[in-house]
């Protein structure tokens, strides 16, 4: 291979462009390093906060599950019957008397800690679409939200003649 010797000015120019290129590369690496640090420190913070939110979500799940299984004696006239909260919720949809009992019970159980709410069918459908839930409508099911770190609410679906969703959310 034959390399022709260039004149000195050309050689200086070439060296200068190499030095400028090197400085540019170093500068870019520093920028990338700063940006990557900023990005990774954010995700680290996110990872630290996730278990706390997940723990709150677990508490809501267990508490709501227990609440729906709680038995209550309903007296009507001379007859009294033991029913579960889940059944009481269904009854409260058709009779306002039961709604009062339900509100009292929910207040006793969750009053200071959680907000208990029964969603209307429309609200439930909106939530289902928003969350992308795949629900088997044949049995009571605790709906696990795919992103508990974003939506920290527990929902429970109760099968009945209409779709009933129960929502429990920690008070802020």
């Amino acid at each position: 291979m034959i390399i022709k010797l260039k004149n000195k000015k050309a050689q200086v120019g070439e060296s200068l462009s190499d030095i400028v290129g090197l400085i540019a590369i170093v500068f870019l690496l520093i920028i990338f390093y700063i940006f990557s640090n900023a990005f990774f420190s954010f995700s680290e913070k996110d990872i630290k906060n996730m278990p706390e939110k997940q723990a709150l979500h677990n508490q809501e799940h267990v508490s709501l599950d227990a609440f729906l299984q709680k038995q209550i004696i309903i007296t009507k006239g001379t007859e009294s019957q033991t029913i579960t909260m889940a059944e009481l919720i269904k009854l409260s949809k058709i009779n306002l008397e039961y709604k009062t009992i339900l509100d009292d019970e929910a207040n006793k159980a969750f009053g200071a800690v959680y907000d208990f709410e029964i969603l209307s069918q429309k609200e439930a459908e909106q939530e289902a679409v928003k969350m992308g839930w795949q629900i088997d409508f044949t049995q009571p099911v605790l709906i696990v939200t795919p992103e508990p770190r974003i939506v920290n609410i527990s929902f429970f679906y109760l099968p009945s003649n209409e779709i009933i969703f129960v929502k429990l959310e920690a008070k802020k």
Partner: protein, 153 residues
């Protein structure tokens, strides 16, 4: 090729090789600096333990009749030297505390805003569960503190 040209060629090649080493070295240094950072997974561990414990003492949200220390110890593997566990049912001490009591004091200090370099991960959970009769609720409070500082910080 004359000697001067050969020398020039060698210097240029060395220069380019140095740039390559610098770039690759920097990329390796950045990746290594990020991936060698330890992730603090103690909070995840505390959350998982709390979940496991409540599933163990109150399966399906119904509290087991008698909660004992042995029962709790059988729920999961407890490392006495690295963690602290306290369990209260309806504000009454359900079992003797398990593990290092000093971790509980550190958690209290952390809650009060004391700044520490090496601190334990603390998690307090409160669950509403049903008593055996299914007619009344009980409030189960679980406090977990995990030390494992060397592995996580």
């Amino acid at each position: 090729m004359n000697k001067k040209a050969q020398l020039g060629h060698g210097i240029t090649w060395l220069w380019k090789f140095m740039i390559l080493v610098l770039v690759v070295g920097c990329v390796v240094a950045i990746v290594a600096s990020h991936y060698s950072k330890p992730y603090d997974i103690r909070y995840s561990e505390a959350e998982t333990l709390s979940k496991k414990l409540i599933e163990c003492i109150a399966p399906n949200g119904i509290l087991t009749q008698q909660v004992t220390s042995d029962m709790v110890k059988n729920c999961f593997l407890i490392n006495d030297k690295e963690m602290f566990l306290n369990l209260t049912i309806d504000n009454k001490q359900a079992i003797d505390t398990i593990g290092l009591l000093s971790l509980s004091s550190l958690c209290e200090a952390k809650k009060q805003g004391t700044k520490m370099k090496y601190y334990p991960a603390c998690l307090d959970s409160s669950y509403i569960v049903l008593k055996q009769s299914k007619m009344e609720f009980s409030t189960v409070k679980i406090s977990i503190a995990i030390n494992k500082v060397e592995k996580n910080i």
